[in-house]
Structure formats: C-alpha cells, structure tokens
Symmetry: C2
Subunit: 173 residues, 2 copies
Amino acid sequence: MKRIGYVLVAVVAVVGGVAYMGFSPALAGGAASPVFDVEIPAGYRDWRLISVAHEEGNLNDLRAILGNDIAIQAYRDGKLPFPDGAIIARLAWNYVPSEENNKVFGRSQSFVAGAATNVQFMVKDSTKYAATGGWGFAQFNAGKPVDEAGLSGCYSCHVPVKARDFVFTRYAP
Amino acid sequence: MKRIGYVLVAVVAVVGGVAYMGFSPALAGGAASPVFDVEIPAGYRDWRLISVAHEEGNLNDLRAILGNDIAIQAYRDGKLPFPDGAIIARLAWNYVPSEENNKVFGRSQSFVAGAATNVQFMVKDSTKYAATGGWGFAQFNAGKPVDEAGLSGCYSCHVPVKARDFVFTRYAP
C-alpha cells in the first residue's frame, strides 16, 4: 500500500475580505482527494445576485447563486478566469407550491422557496486549489460541512464548463 | 360626467437613498386610478435577496425578489408594516431548460434564467400611497414603464395578503 504522508499546515488566508482558517494536509505522493478546507464565508447571505435556477428530480429545489464583490465584478466585466478571492455561493430551498399565490392567480402555477436544503461554495485560489482548476469546493448541510469524500466529485462535474472557468451559472441580466 | 380636476405637482422624494422625481396628479373628487409615478430605483440590481420563485403558465419565469436596505431590515426584524422607504423589487427571466446542466446531471431536470422579462417594484410611502395600502406599484418592460391603467389591478391582487402588509414574498432563510 502506498504510504500517504500528511503534514498538517495551519493555513490562514484572507480571500475576498473573508478570513479562512483550516488545516490543509500537504499530500506526499498520493492521489488523495483534494482537501478544500472552505469555511462558510461571513455575510454571504448579503451578497449580490448572479442568477436563479430550478432543479427537478431528487434535488427538487429553487436556488439562488450569489457572488462576493470580486465574483460579481468579474461576471459584469466578462472577465475569465475569475481572479483569486472570487467566491460563488449557491443557496437552495425546497420547491414548494404556494396555495396562497395560486388563489390569486386563479390557477396552480406558483412555486416558492421553502426550507433551506444546503449551501455550496466555490472559492477561487489558483495556488491552493491548483489541482482542481483553481477552485475549492464546499457544501454545508444545516451549517455542517460535507466531508472531503463527499466533495470528491465536485471538480469532475465542473470540468465540462472548463471554458467558463468551471462555473456553470451565467449572469442573469 | 363628473369632472376630475388634475393639479400637477412636482414631487421629489428621497426614499431609501433613492431620489424619485415625478408629476403626481392631485385627484379632486374622482375615483380615478392611483398614479404611482415610481421610477426605476438606481442600483436595484445590487440589492440583497429576499427570495426566489417560479411561475408556470403564461408567465413561465424564474424570479428573484430583492429588497433595499430598509426592506431587508424589516424582513429580518419581522417588522410589519414595512416602514416608509422600503422598496421591494421583483426581477423575472424566461424559464429556460439547460441542456448543458442536464448533460452533467444525466437527466432532464435543470432550468435556468434566460432573457429578462420585466421588473416590478413596490415602494412604501404611507402618505403618498395611502389609498393603496401605503404601496406604490410599478412595472417596467425593457426599461419602459407600464402605464397607470396597466397597474390598476396591482393593489387589489395584493389585498389577500393584507395581514403581511400586502406583500406576498416571505424571506428565504
């Protein structure tokens, strides 16, 4: 069995005005999953809107994609790749029919945001996350981080949009 | 025929840091539609997110509801009625399936924001808009205001949610 040596390194980085602190294993000779160590950025619920979406199927949610100032500026400037410090947040809520709204419309057509499901982040740091297109990925379920194994598929799913710096969401005018 | 006298009054109001200017007819003894004179508030695209929604049917859109600082604060404080100066913006975009996203998910499930359809605003001014629950209503199609006749139904549609100060959208956690 190949030995994977971990050296714990304290990392304190200020990205987009948000301080992160975590322990990042320095991987020695292994094909281990990347370790992102992304914390919930303070104040992300106040960030500006990039766009909105709806996923059917198992997800069955309504979602909003928000960006910190660096991300929003890059979107509006049409600048790729996103600069270091850009953070994109994907919030999601259960997809809930609104009887209240339907009564007013006189037909069943209205769906609103219910309880929050989870929040995801993409954090740009071209050095720290060089192995994954410069992006660190994170998901929090009720404030609890999904472990690294749970994030191992994030990057590969984003590869099809490599030409847009691995970001699916387009800016809504 | 009942004579309706109009007196044009120049109105300059600063609501929530946004300067409005319009001409407001002072209605004399008529049951005329209210005249809202709401202009597009500068910088509304930068406002914070209240919630998201999807309307099927003729609307067939994805929408984001944003609030200026006064509106967001009132939402977060659970304060009703909304104070004067609160403005709520409803942006909407065509509901578009995303083939790009569907390929990644391996099934047809993803809908994203396409071209913008129209933008609506509710502006709280309990004096100016006393006849309509304290709210002025506006809609802009490609930047062009919908005329007063087109807005005459706004208030009556919002009456069913009078208990929430005539506002349908609840804050998404």
